[in-house]
């Protein structure tokens, strides 16, 4: 089926206004929040119902045309990057809140529903949706499902997988199935558990049932500033081992503070402190005050320079904006950045940060640190300038080196952003060939033709060396012309050859 024919068929299903196909209209879709790799999709379509998604997928499946789902495109590992010239199925227009059940604490949303909007819509009833990735004001719940997104409050409340109980899924052959269970545990294999975090490789969620929670009775937020990262790290360990489970425990280093203080979300951090901790406790009013006091005391025990409890909602909101906008604020101090998403045991924090500082020195690239300290989930932000030849690659290699350190101390290469295309090779730090094969075997059950978001999440075992060689050759000789003039996939020809 040639492209024109495909466009005609897609237009038959969706009408002319919901299909983008002209080359230049597609450029804006050549990457998501991860900008180090880009490629142009074949088309972008905007379905608004499950049936439309199903009809589109059936058509593409029948004609063996690769496709992938995309939410708001705020992902940070390239999960929605169309490296194989896919048709992008944008779920941005499927953004309705379908149902709220306050008695049973459930809400059903379409995948394009914005995370924070759900909380806003149910706030009147004293409820909220707990997973709160930093991009929650823009990211979609469908995207959160695909990436198993985390957020600052996952320390106490868990990541997305703990909050999604069921979903309607369009399988890669176009069939519609329901997985999970509205109440209680689902029988048989835990398919909803499998779908959450599958990065769009097992199908496309078109209606998602989530748990909603009652807002805690009281919240206290503590900000603590330290002269040394070690003191801040030790406070984190101390708080956790004392038995208190804060709702959130976040850390930023000086470079991150500098960036965000240059933005609209100015807090005014002293320029001579090494780290700032943001610790939040919530729960019943009676206990919260006491917990906050204990935390302040523990901060003092670890030589805190300054510690204070937020005096108003406005102050608390500003502190949180400052933390949540930190990634986006990197543009204030660098033209490009690559965010890593390593996980480590909390007790190794100081040691790992020292190693990251070494890596920064060796590479010559600045690294700012923003992280969910309580979970041991680090976000080293590697600052680079893509306009300088070789810097993108250097940044990627630096990121990989950081992840190696995380894996080596017993952690992981992703806490919440997913593997995408960014960390494919780094999967090997954690899994051997047999383990990867098992994962691919599962994919092949749902997605036997590998048409749905191919080439993401799991690397092909034993192909590594060949793929690498092909990519290097391709990069050296052809990337510039083939990659840019056509603006189709940069990877796919090499990939196909390697296969």
């Amino acid at each position: 089926m040639d492209k024109l024919e495909m466009v005609r068929e897609l237009t038959n299903i969706l009408g002319p206004n919901r299909v983008l196909y002209k080359e230049h209209q597609l450029l804006a879709y050549d990457c998501d929040g991860y900008v180090a790799q880009k490629a142009r999709p074949k088309a972008v379509v905007f379905p608004v119902t499950t049936e439309e998604v199903s009809r589109v997928v059936k058509l593409l499946h029948e004609h063996q045309i690769p496709f992938l789902p995309r939410g708001a495109g705020t992902g940070l590992s390239g999960g929605a990057t169309p490296l194989n010239g896919e048709v992008i199925i944008s779920l941005a227009k499927m953004d309705r809140l379908l149902h709220v059940d306050f008695d049973n604490m459930r809400a059903v949303v379409q995948p394009g529903h914005i995370n924070l909007q759900l909380t806003k819509k149910i706030a009147g009833n004293g409820c909220y949706y707990a997973p709160d990735p930093s991009s929650q004001s823009a990211c979609t719940i469908g995207g959160n499902l695909a990436e198993n997104a985390g957020g600052s409050h996952c320390l106490k409340y868990g990541v997305t997988t703990n909050h999604i109980v069921g979903a309607e899924i369009v399988l890669p052959n176009g069939n519609i199935v329901e997985v999970g269970s509205y109440m209680g545990d689902s029988l048989g294999y835990d398919l909803i558990g499998l779908i959450v975090g599958s990065e769009g490789t097992l199908g496309i969620a078109t209606a998602i049932t989530v748990k909603i929670l009652k807002k805690p009775e009281a919240v206290k937020t503590v900000m603590a500033m330290y002269d040394s990262v070690e003191d801040a790290s030790n406070t984190v360990s101390d708080v956790i081992s004392s038995g208190i489970i804060p709702a959130a425990m976040e850390m930023m280093d000086q470079l991150a503070m500098q960036a965000v203080d240059k933005s609209n979300y100015y807090v005014g951090y002293p320029t001579d402190i090494a780290a700032v901790l943001l610790i939040e406790v919530d729960g019943l009013a009676a206990g919260v005050e006491e917990m906050a006091e204990k935390i302040v005391h523990m901060c003092q025990k670890h030589h805190v320079r300054m510690v204070k409890v937020a005096e108003s909602d406005a102050e608390r909101a500003l502190w949180w904006s400052s933390r949540k906008m930190a990634f986006g604020a990197m543009g204030r101090i660098s033209p490009d950045y690559l965010v890593q998403d390593g996980v480590i045991p909390r007790t190794r924090l100081a040691e790992v940060l020292a190693k990251i500082a070494d890596i920064s020195r060796e590479s010559g690239l600045r690294i700012a640190n923003v992280f969910h300290a309580g979970d041991g989930n680090l976000h080293p932000l590697i600052l680079y300038d893509g306009r300088i030849p070789g810097q993108t690659k250097l940044a990627q290699e630096t990121g990989s080196a950081v992840l190696k350190v995380c894996a080596d101390v017993g952690g992981s290469i992703t806490g919440e952003h997913g593997v995408g295309v960014e960390k494919l090779e780094e999967m090997r730090f954690l899994f051997n060939d047999a383990e990867l094969q098992a994962q691919l075997a599962i994919r092949s059950v749902f997605n036997p033709q590998d048409l749905c978001n191919a080439g993401k999440l799991v690397p092909k075992p034993s192909r590594c060396v060949e793929v690498k060689r092909a990519q290097q050759l391709f990069q050296a000789e052809q990337a510039v012309y083939d990659g840019f003039q056509e603006h189709t996939s940069i990877l796919s020809p090499a990939y196909k050859e390697a296969k």
Binding site: K22, K38, G73, A92, A138, G328
Partner: protein, 444 residues
């Protein structure tokens, strides 16, 4: 580790922006593509299309600048579909100046393909033929007044003659308030003494549309300012600020107008330049951007802009007297984009409204989402403007009698909304309500 790398720097392509004053790299390279801007962008909210989002538009501008895109519809359409409302700038953590990038890109389009045919003729007539010339503008005002007063309006409404006009113009005709006989620029004395001790001198910028359609608001502004110890001067040589020209991409014409105003106002001895139209206020404050490449006028523009204040901003800055008399009204406030996003003036108008005894201020949800007026956007893009107006009218809280705001464009647009819904909501400028309170005080 081998990853395909998009190394743009290897490409020596020619920029699609071939004319002076193009969007500069320093502005677009700040964008890190995080996407925080998406959900506050009115056109993205309506369309869900990345091309019609701030991040997408900046990406397209960057690509055109790097020669990866020609200056064709793929860039022009998104750049002109943008309302230039700047909501994205309010949330952007990296501080991307999307408004300036859009305006500069429009400048390139203006150079590349001057609008032709009917659209071009209309554009040329208004942007170059009428607005820059105060006397011609007054003539338009007089003609409109003649049309309204002579019975011609009644005849043309009755005869169905208006049906030849597009719907949005027909609606504008229907809601257009009665044009006052004289403009404030003509009728106000050159120097109006303050009441009591003098706090400062403020030069009143009377604007173009504001002074033709809503010149009473200018007079109210002068009264309110003098009531609060500000000596008001009205420089008679001033002309339109050029905001509409900037929005349309006619930057050269805008620069000529800006130069004229800068010289006129700097020659006066005013401490402040006071303005009551959000769009004009933003344009005046951003004159330096127009003269990036002109060191002489850049410096003068900086001096000029440093003195510009919105009337609500100025009243709070110098301290205003809370009125004694009651104005019994339930009011909701609409944040004009160029007041809240471009000028960051949000709290002051609310502070003024809350200071008036008897006023109940009910917050409108998403009060800072664009109403769709956006200069002449409601005429160039009636569909999108109409959708946004519907959303705005849906957001008006129940039980309010009046919507207050600080921009004439929004006032006319929301009047159309009121007309469509057939409600009897009043659409007023914030300062009119304060003025009403002061005047009642005088009568008590």
């Amino acid at each position: 580790m081998a990853k395909a790398e998009a190394d743009v720097s290897l490409l020596q392509l020619e920029s699609a922006f071939k004319w002076p004053d193009a969007p500069d790299e320093d502005k677009y390279s700040v964008c890190v593509h995080c996407g925080f801007c998406l959900e506050v962008c009115p056109t993205y909210q309506q369309l869900g299309d990345e091309n019609q989002s701030p991040r997408g538009r900046v990406y397209l501008i960057k690509s055109a600048s790097e020669g990866l895109l020609p200056l064709d519809e793929s860039v022009i359409d998104p750049v002109f579909q943008c309302l230039d409302c700047r909501a994205c700038e309010t949330v952007c953590p990296s501080g991307v100046q999307v408004g300036a990038l859009i305006e500069e890109a429009r400048g390139q389009v203006f150079y590349a393909e001057p609008a032709k045919g009917m659209k071009g003729a209309v554009q040329k007539l208004f942007l170059r033929g009428i607005f820059p010339h105060p006397n011609r503008l007054k003539m338009v005002g007089k003609l409109t007044r003649f049309y309204q007063k002579s019975g011609l309006q009644a005849v043309s409404r009755k005869s169905g003659l208006l049906k030849i006009l597009p719907k949005q113009l027909r609606e504008m005709e229907a809601i257009l308030p009665e044009v006052p006989a004289t403009s404030a620029l003509d009728s106000l004395p050159e120097r109006i003494p303050q009441r009591g001790d003098k706090k400062a001198t403020a030069a009143l910028f009377t604007g173009c549309v504001m002074d033709v359609v809503f010149s009473d608001i200018n007079r109210a502004t002068a009264r309110v300012a003098t009531h609060n110890g500000l000596e008001v001067i009205v420089p008679k040589q001033q002309i339109c600020c050029g905001a509409l020209q900037v929005h349309a991409g006619d930057r050269e014409q805008a620069r000529q107008m800006a130069k004229h105003n800068i010289d006129v106002f700097l020659a006066s001895d005013a401490d402040y330049i006071v303005i009551n139209a959000a769009g004009c206020g933003a344009a005046l404050k951003e004159y330096p951007e127009l003269f990036r490449d002109d060191p002489f006028y850049h410096e003068k523009a900086e001096q000029f802009s440093a003195r510009v204040r919105d009337i609500s901003e100025l009243l709070v800055e110098v301290g205003f007297e809370p009125p004694q008399a009651e104005v019994k009204r339930t009011i909701t406030y609409h944040d004009a984009c160029h007041l809240c996003h471009a000028q960051k003036v949000r709290s002051q108008p609310r502070q003024i409204l809350r200071s008036i005894p008897g006023v109940t201020l009910v917050e409108m949800p998403n009060s800072d989402r664009c109403c769709g007026s956006a200069g002449i956007y409601n005429i160039t893009h009636p569909d999108m403007a109409g959708q946004l107006l519907e959303r705005k009218m849906d957001d008006v809280p129940e039980g309010v009698e009046c919507i207050a705001m600080g921009n004439p464009g929004c006032m006319m647009q929301i009047m159309v909304g009121v007309h469509r819904r057939e409600t009897d909501l009043d659409v007023l400028h914030t300062i009119e309500i304060l003025d009403e309170a002061y005047r009642r005080e005088g009568n008590e």
